[in-house]
């Protein structure tokens, strides 16, 4: 029977939740890295027991952790214990070294971006928001960081190099931080085209490469952000999340700061599909594992009130790829609920009856075994949940 492994990053550690394919009874492992912020952890599609985790702290900075046994044990890549000394000498301890590329051969030195007050501000590494393992190589993993940039490791996280074409394509000096910082939080890999990748930055927008990351371009046509001097500007949009179904790589769904959007042309143009949502502000968006026209969002009241409208936690589902939405509330709190669901905190499994999972800032992780028709908490009292990922195991 299949198994499901849910990887949960929280403000105070990581948790691994496991169940068989019935998804009725769950084992909870953790906290791993207790006391540390775990922004994200994710497994390799090519080797499900290879997991990567972003561990960070205001005191000690960034740490990258790796597990090669499905989360039972962890190591900092390239350091003992775990990886022995090599002929090249003692371990360098570079797995947490994220240095921006400003070399002349990669174009103009990229030294500043726009600050909150409109002045230019130096790029400063703060943390890794998102880790996206390669679809085919367990040792290759991408990291989206704050201040926004894309890094890649080809050696299992032992060392990282920036992919400078993203910051260097020309709009970088116009990027600015959102309320949560200037973070590259979404990385979507195209299974049908290994050269194509989508990323999103708050608050710069969405970007695409068609040549494996060498060159990039903004893909924000159709987005409208009234807070910008030019609401339809090429960059500056606060994109919160992008989701794509593997079987239809040209179709993208976006939860923007406000507005739920859809693109049918690889992001070249977007149209709004917020439809009858009670509010189109939110953070998460995801796609049903079997039906690429079924999508899920969690509406949040507003950008100044980060909790569900009327204190009722609801997932909204569209079976039509947007515009027509239905509230899914069975099993979710319908009074006095004032949690948030952050941008990396929803995921789906790939079982026949699609499981949907999301975590809240109140520490609950909810699961649905029936594509959102009903919900039950797996755990209720974790630290604030930052991210949720799901692995469906044979």
């Amino acid at each position: 029977m299949s198994q499901v492994r849910v990887l949960v990053g929280t403000r105070k550690g990581a948790f691994v939740l496991t169940s068989d394919g019935k998804r009725e009874h769950w084992a909870v492992s953790g906290p791993h890295f207790g006391g540390w912020e775990i922004y994200h952890l994710k497994g390799s599609p090519a080797d499900p027991n290879r997991l990567y985790a972003s561990q960070c702290s205001g005191w000690f900075g960034q740490i990258i952790q790796r597990s090669d046994d499905g989360g039972k044990t962890w190591m900092q890549p390239g350091t003992p214990p775990g990886e022995p000394q090599t002929a090249q000498g003692p371990p360098k301890g570079d797995s947490n070294k994220f240095v921006y590329n400003t070399s002349p051969e990669n174009g103009k030195p990229l030294t500043t971006h726009q600050w909150y007050d409109g002045t230019q501000h130096p790029w400063e590494f703060k943390r890794v928001w998102h880790l996206e393992p390669s679809l085919t190589d367990p040792d290759t993993v991408y990291a989206g960081v704050e201040d926004a940039a894309l890094f890649r490791s080809k050696n299992g996280g032992q060392s990282w190099e920036e992919m400078p074409g993203l910051r260097g394509h020309g709009t970088g000096p116009r990027w600015q931080p959102g309320a949560g910082g200037m973070c590259l939080h979404t990385i979507v890999l195209d299974a049908s085209n290994p050269k194509r990748m989508f990323i999103a930055i708050s608050a710069a927008g969405a970007f695409r490469t068609d040549d494996g990351g060498e060159t990039w371009r903004p893909i924000n046509r159709g987005l409208k952000s009234p807070f910008l001097p030019d609401p339809t500007a090429e960059v500056g949009h606060c994109v919160h999340r992008i989701a794509m179904h593997r079987s239809r790589p040209g179709v993208l769904f976006m939860q923007k700061h406000w507005d739920v959007m859809r693109s049918d042309d690889n992001g070249d143009s977007w149209r709004e599909v917020s439809g009858n949502l009670p509010t189109d502000f939110g953070f998460v968006i995801d796609v049903h594992a079997q039906d690429p026209e079924t999508i899920f969002v969690v509406p949040i009241k507003s950008d100044s009130e980060h909790y569900p409208p009327d204190g009722k936690l609801s997932v909204y589902r569209s079976r039509t790829g947007g515009n027509e939405w239905e509230a899914l509330t069975k099993g979710l709190p319908q009074h006095d609920c004032y949690v948030n669901v952050l941008r990396d905190a929803m995921a789906v499994d790939s079982l026949d009856s699609c499981g949907v999972y999301f975590g809240t800032t109140g520490g609950q992780v909810y699961a649905s075994r029936d594509a959102g028709n009903s919900w039950a908490p797996i755990v209720r009292d974790l630290p604030a949940v930052l991210s949720v990922e799901v692995q469906t195991l044979p």
Binding site: G35, W36, S57, G58, W59, F60, G61, Q62, I63, Q76, G78, T79, P80, P81, P90, P91, K92, G93, D94, N96, K97, V99
Partner: protein, 98 residues
């Protein structure tokens, strides 16, 4: 041997349970102690000092013999008691946050 006391989270990263001892060649300074510490425990690189600039991370302080050495130059000699191993060099996390 130079004795070094680490804050709890760094002990966990380094897989040590109490203070550690490191061999330091030459003058006993903040820099030489931290260089030796990071050679022995590479998983601590970047957690006490910035990888590139080697600047102390803002929420950490260095103490020895009851005094705060954090703002002293990194190559300034530390007290003889630290060099003799009778007193430890302490890496202390600021009490901040909630």
């Amino acid at each position: 041997m130079i004795r070094v006391v680490l804050p709890p989270h760094l002990r966990t990263l380094a897989h040590v349970s109490a203070e550690v001892s490191v061999e330091v060649e030459g003058a006993i300074t903040q820099r030489s102690i931290l260089d030796a510490l990071e050679d022995c425990y590479p998983m601590l690189r970047g957690t006490i000092r910035d990888h590139d600039t080697l600047q102390r991370r803002p929420f950490l302080r260095f103490f020895a013999c009851g005094e705060d050495w954090s703002l002293e130059p990194p190559d300034h000699p530390l007290p003889d008691a630290v060099a003799r191993g009778t007193e430890p060099f302490l890496v202390v996390g600021a009490i901040a946050g909630g």
